[in-house]
């Protein structure tokens, strides 16, 4: 399948063309160009998916390496195949990701033409979008972990550029810096993890790393090279994999790296939809899924850590989401919570057959979540576009003004709340099943989170579309076609993607299996969701003071939650006070005054000595003679007694 190289080539070319010549084009043309290019890519991606899934032979899904070019050769005598390659690895999850990315990106491209209309830097926006698409595609099809790291960094920087799109707003700049540095910090762990892994296994290649021996139940290479090696009481395998997971946690905004994602909403809304909701933030999940066999066989304890971190994050984020008033922030926290869901699913997953349900479910949820979260963001974009504000208080009763947005938003809300028969129901349900089979605590926790999710999403929904109308200075109007059409398309996906036979397609060991639905759990989750919706309805359908009373009744908790538990402040303190104020300033002072001071001291001493010794040259010939004869005597003594 050599044509697949176009999947990477076209977006990159688009980036170069629009980036270099963009300032010569009209905004409209550059937008159309970008979208056209992406349309081709999307078509190719669907074709690939079609070829891969629907024309494949029976049995296990094969993994195809479409191409694999050596990019940088780090090999040496005892590490013959340690080289960074740029290639295309096609297996179920990467193909699925291809579809997700291209779909959402396509929609965003179209949507942006309306949303970003008349913004300055329109071309820049499209250039960066293409760059991001390129990077994200490269990330998911990576054949080796280092290629993944490369594109990992690239998505990071394109996210930076998009967040700082309104670079005249200091808040945007701050948010962009925050996002980049936090993820960079996590990437450092990722890099160290890669180093450790490659130090032992002597390769970056995923296929080699994830090769599994069926009967000994081992990831062959990793076990043979790293198995049993301990360092400070932990096995190096666990250390390496934990570090790699931390890298993923940074991108996927797992606690405690989650702080950058809410601020990242400073960027343009479509960008948020694409990057900070649908695709980039799930890179962490994808990373873990990609290395899943290694995790499962060689470091199960790390998987547990992942599961619990995920559970905690999802709960934590859901609670915060209930208290936010900026609609994009609410969506951001719900994103965090949902991604944590996927992490939990991976954490509890087994490997073979129905045990691998968690894996399937997380990928499935990834897919559906991408769809409905993108829908939500774009709808929110329409609303903001109409109301010119992110704050809930500026909204209300919008259902009369923007019908299409209203419906799509509703669909998405039901989907995320997990109401039958929308896609969200299936994926979330499978996650709960997996959790139930693995670990009851996690199950109850996630069920509760499901309820919370339903609650805050519908809080949002009712606040926006029902509630009381504030007096708009100019009445909100429906978004233009190029904005609502993508919404419609995505909501179609949202509705039907639950019926895809995911378990046939995606499984940890590449062998399809049948899902048997566990009714009690399904019903349970639905009930919980309905409770959440009911509460939201009860509280927010009409204007009333119950919410405030509830908030006041548990005031401290509420303020903590609404201030996101002050995590950001802690980070700020650490960076500003300790690192800048403490370490850096101290080192700079030390450098200027001690080290440089020493060098100056040398010069100063020399000059002073030379000034002070002036008197030796007194000008009196007799003193000269005195020194002379003394010198003679000294020399004689030296000569005699040396």
């Amino acid at each position: 399948m050599d044509y697949t190289i176009l999947l990477l080539a076209i977006p990159f070319l688009m980036f170069l063309i629009i980036g270099l010549l963009g300032y010569k084009m009209t905004p409209k043309f550059s937008g159309l160009l970008g979208s056209a290019g992406l349309a081709v890519v999307t078509a190719l991606a669907y074709y690939t998916a079609y070829r891969y899934f629907l024309q494949a032979a029976e049995g296990a899904w094969e993994t195809i390496t479409a191409f694999n070019y050596t990019w940088l050769d780090l090999s040496n005598a005892n590490r013959p195949d340690l080289m960074i390659q740029i290639g295309m690895l096609l297996d179920p999850i990467s193909v699925m990701m291809l579809v997700v990315i291209t779909t959402v990106s396509m929609m965003v491209h179209i949507y942006s033409m309306g949303y970003m209309h008349g913004e300055e830097g329109f071309q820049r926006y499209y250039a960066v979008l293409s760059l991001f698409t390129f990077a994200m595609l490269g990330l998911v099809v990576a054949t080796n972990i280092f290629q993944m790291y490369i594109f990992w960094e690239l998505v990071g920087v394109s996210s930076f550029l998009l967040i700082s799109f309104y670079f005249k707003k200091p808040s945007a700049v701050r948010a962009a810096k925050k996002a980049f540095i936090v993820t960079r910090f996590a990437d450092m762990f990722f890099l160290i993890g890669i180093l450790i892994l490659s130090y032992y296994t002597k390769t970056f290649d995923f296929l080699k790393l994830t090769a599994v021996d069926a009967e000994t139940q081992q990831a062959t290479l990793v076990f043979s090279t790293m198995g049993g090696k301990m360092f400070m009481g932990m096995s190096v395998t666990s250390i390496a994999l934990l570090l790699i997971f931390l890298g993923g946690a940074g991108k996927s905004a797992m606690f405690p790296f989650h702080i950058w994602l809410p601020d990242a909403m400073e960027g343009p809304t479509p960008a948020s939809a694409l990057i900070h909701a649908a695709t980039m933030v799930v890179a962490g999940v994808f990373l873990v899924a990609r290395l899943f066999p290694v995790y499962y066989f060689e470091a199960p304890e790390v998987l547990h850590i992942i599961a619990y971190i995920g559970a905690f994050t999802s709960l934590f984020a859901a609670i915060i989401a209930c208290t936010q008033t900026d609609i994009k922030r609410v969506l951001a926290f719900s994103t965090i919570s949902q991604i944590a869901y996927m992490m939990v699913a991976l954490g509890v997953s087994g490997y073979e057959g129905h045990d691998g349900l968690g894996f399937t479910a997380s990928m499935w949820h990834l897919f559906t979540h991408a769809m409905f979260k993108a829908t939500l963001f774009m709808a929110a974009g329409c609303i903001i576009h109409a109301v010119h504000s992110n704050e809930m208080d500026a909204m209300g009763g919008l259902r009369h003004h923007m019908k299409k947005t209203y419906y799509t938003f509703a669909i998405a809300c039901f989907a995320i709340a997990g109401i039958f028969p929308l896609s969200g129901f299936f994926s979330k349900d499978e996650i709960l099943v997996a959790a139930f089979e693995a670990d009851k605590i996690l199950y109850w926790c996630q069920t509760f989170v499901a309820g919370l999710t339903a609650f805050y999403m519908f809080r949002l929904f009712f606040r926006i579309f029902f509630y009381d109308e504030p007096n708009y200075e100019h009445t909100p109007h429906e978004a233009p076609a190029n904005m609502w059409v993508p919404l419609a398309i995505l909501s179609v996906f949202t509705i039907f993607s639950g019926w895809f036979p995911f378990s046939k397609w995606i499984s940890a060991n590449l062998i399809g299996y049948e899902i048997h639905t566990v009714w009690p759990i399904a019903i349970g989750s639905t009930v919980v969701a309905l409770i959440g919706i009911g509460t939201a309805y009860f509280l927010y359908y009409k204007k009333n003071d119950i919410p405030d009373r509830i908030a006041n009744s548990c005031k401290r908790f509420y303020t903590w939650a609404s201030h996101r538990f002050y995590i950001d402040e802690v980070y700020l303190f650490i960076t500003n006070k300790i690192i800048f104020g403490g370490i850096c300033a101290a080192i700079a002072w030390f450098d200027r005054h001690i080290i440089d001071g020493f060098m100056d001291l040398l010069g100063w001493t020399t000059n002073t000595v030379s000034e002070e010794t002036k008197e030796i040259q007194s000008g009196s010939v007799q003193q000269y003679a005195w020194v002379f004869i003394m010198g003679v005597i000294t020399i004689v003594t030296l000569a005699l007694y040396l």
């Binding site: 002036k614 008197e615 040259q617 007194s618 000008g619 009196s620 010939v621 007799q622 003679a625 004869i629």
Partner: protein, 103 residues
Amino acid sequence: MNIPVEYFLVLSTLLFFIGVYGFIVRKNLIGILMSIELVLNAVNINFVVFNRFLFPDKLEGFIYGLFVIIVAAAETAVAIAIIINVYRNMKNIDVNSIKELKN
């Protein structure tokens, strides 16, 4: 009567250091010049004595002494000329008057 060589050496050494001492303490340039003469005489004594007592078969020492005397004379001549020049410029021949150039 024969005086052992050591005595002469002691004498010459004393003479040498007296000359040096004079050079260092005298305040009058002429005086300083004279103390240099003392030093040279000490040297001459050495030469002559060594020649006379240790190597009587050759005359090197005597001849050297002779040359020293001659050269010293020339040296003194030039030195005095210069001292006169100093006197012409500074109206005295005190050694402290030639301390302008220093540091």
